[in-house]
Symmetry: C2
Subunit: 228 residues, 2 copies
Amino acid sequence: VIRIEGLTRTYVMGTNQVHALAGIDLTVSAGEMVAVMGASGSGKSTLMNMIGCLDQPTSGSYELDGEQVADLGRNRLADLRNRRLGFVFQGFNLLSRTSAQENVELPLLYDRSGRGGDSASRARRALERVGLGDRTGHLPNELSGGQQQRVAIARALVTEPSLLLADEPTGNLDTRTSIEVLALFQELNDQGLTVVMVTHEKEIARYAKRIVELRDGLIVRDVPVHDR
Amino acid sequence: VIRIEGLTRTYVMGTNQVHALAGIDLTVSAGEMVAVMGASGSGKSTLMNMIGCLDQPTSGSYELDGEQVADLGRNRLADLRNRRLGFVFQGFNLLSRTSAQENVELPLLYDRSGRGGDSASRARRALERVGLGDRTGHLPNELSGGQQQRVAIARALVTEPSLLLADEPTGNLDTRTSIEVLALFQELNDQGLTVVMVTHEKEIARYAKRIVELRDGLIVRDVPVHDR
Ligand SMILES: Nc1ncnc2c1ncn2[C@@H]1O[C@H](COP(=O)(O)OP(=O)(O)OP(=O)(O)O)[C@@H](O)[C@H]1O
Ligand SMILES: Nc1ncnc2c1ncn2[C@@H]1O[C@H](COP(=O)(O)OP(=O)(O)OP(=O)(O)O)[C@@H](O)[C@H]1O
Ligand SMILES: [Mg+2]
Ligand SMILES: [Mg+2]
């Protein structure tokens, strides 16, 4: 699914250069469940934005489902993102004047493949799966931090992606709610969804099958998870 | 320092009522370090907003440093907030077009007490204490999630408050950075800073001296932490 070689991402700030990614080699096959860990500032979100086709590398190659992402035009990229990828952002990125249900419905309205089904009821079902069936009409500022995070998770899953990219999906959730969300990810992974999630909590990472650790923009460790 | 009796906060939404706080009794003395825990949506941020004088209760009384908050006018409240309280928000709430250093300097510019000292160097020192000495010129969108969170922590501490209210201060931080931030809180607490922090991680809560647990807007548990 994902084949990355020699990927770098450098920010130029005045006379300074920040090497957010300093040369990443990473292959993820279909159906894997990978946890990405590492210190604050080590490059996790930058890597996730690359994989999610939301940012361009400074150098290196990225092949998604056999296609070189660098060769794809804007429309093709947007289409790929909408149909195959689900993205849970670290900062939620919900539309503030829009209800929870409408936020979750939004990706379905962009889906030109016409996969059908009533988008409002699909959105409500996705919210029920993350425990927010009684909050569908709330605006983001009428929801707690963890509830906003769960709306972002529902939005990422409603399009039935083949690859889920979740950046700190349980950062604002209590342990019990976190376990419910991870059980949902595992269930979807058993059904074939490829999952790449960033987490800083070891117990959360152990729900995955493989842990990739970043330090200063490089992968320093890539190991399977034993006795899950 | 904090004396709360019978505090409620109810949101009216159409025909529905959401009892975010259903009757809170809580006393916190000067120099305490309290962790507030509870499920997503249990009322933690609502309680923190009350304590931080950022929201008005529906009923009940709140006395801060011997003064009834309900009797205070807007100017007096703003003054109290600026001089005695430091607030770390769950969503960081940084100004997006402003550098890390300027974000941290902001509360010093509002401080009419003229406590003096060059606000730029005080802001830089606060950022160094949270490990961001080399990121002072970055805008929030040029910082990682955990770096933004640390800017929010530096901003809350730069005015040398007597009460720190931190809502999920380590939600986006890796374990090692979290420990550094909590060690800083403990050091300031040893010097007399009263700390009330929300966390969903048990290991983080154990840095405090007391754990208060919320469920559905009520305190269900209030116990000291043993063998820290
Ligand atoms: N403006 C609002 N209007 C209606 N309901 C609200 C509003 N703000 C919060 N709520 C509701 O009040 C309850 C408590 O919210 P609060 O933000 O205090 O929870 P929390 O314990 O901080 O949760 P989390 O751990 O997810 O951050 C939630 O169920 C939420 O949906
Ligand atoms: N637009 C930008 N301009 C300059 N530097 C940036 C920019 N975006 C990110 N950085 C820097 O790149 C590094 C990696 O950032 P990234 O967001 O990937 O880290 P992260 O591992 O996700 O951290 P966290 O766990 O705190 O979320 C950080 O040191 C950050 O300061
Ligand atoms: Mg990040
Ligand atoms: Mg909260």
